[in-house]
Amino acid sequence: MLSDFWAKLHGASTHFPIAMVFGACAFDLLSVVAWGKPWARDANVAGTYTLTLGALGGILAVVSGLDLTKGEMWGGGALRWHHLFVWPAFTLMMAIAGWRLVVRDKLTRRSYVIYVTVELVLTGLTAAAGYWGGEMLQGVS
């Protein structure tokens, strides 16, 4: 009964940070491409808050996931693959969200390009973690 609750909560809560990371990356890409344009700053602000919300949602996803697996950090098969991508993604997400909250819009274009590159890596890691999470539910073996 209780594990069903955690399974449902994990399923519900993982999609939020995934969507937020993708959204933040899209906003930041737009902002860096349109550097100097009036709306680029709006996209920058949207990127900051979207990533921050994603990081907060990520905490709930990790806590519910750990409770679901009874504290298993690695596991085997698809779960292991899921974890191989989840832990770097979660760590990187918290790191760049913290960095971004301090720097906010005081970015040079060069540092912004580097930041967006790191954010793209984060998006890839998040997508891979989500893929293997889905494999655990839908995979046939």
Binding site: V62, L66, K70, M93, W99, V103
Partner: protein
């Protein structure tokens, strides 16, 4: 500006350490809890021991059930036919039981009405013996 960036890197580092450290800490705590609350993670070996079944008999019974319900899709040797190969499954006991009970939409039927919990456990024992 460089002072701001330095401060931001410190915050990023602390955030990363807290995130990973917190996850590992919570995992360790949960694992310790599972050891003390044994009913939350009943392994099939424990359940079989509890049911007073010698493992060989359980495996044989599981094999009979497998031949009746699963072999026409997974093959008599469970090497796969219409359904996948079931040898050396790398998924948890709980996941196997869930798949047997609930099935997979469009691919495998649910066996929750056809087999009791004990029979599904015997199927699991047989699958783990492969």
């Amino acid at each position: 500006m460089s002072c701001l960036f330095f401060r931001a890197f410190i915050v990023a580092f602390v955030g990363a350490v807290f995130a990973l450290g917190g996850a590992f800490g919570l995992a360790a705590r949960l694992q310790k809890r599972v050891v003390t609350v044994s009913h939350e993670q009943p392994s099939w070996t424990k359940q079989i021991a509890h049911a007073n079944f010698p493992l060989e008999i359980a495996t044989r019974k599981g094999r009979t059930l497998f031949l009746n319900s699963c072999a026409h899709c997974h093959g008599e040797d469970a090497r796969g036919d219409e359904g996948p190969d079931l040898h050396d499954l790398e998924i948890s006991d709980r996941r196997i039981v869930t798949v047997i009970k609930k099935g997979i939409k469009g691919e495998m039927p649910s066996f929750t009405k056809k087999h009791s919990d004990e029979e599904i456990l015997l199927l699991l024992v047989y699958l783990r013996s492969l």
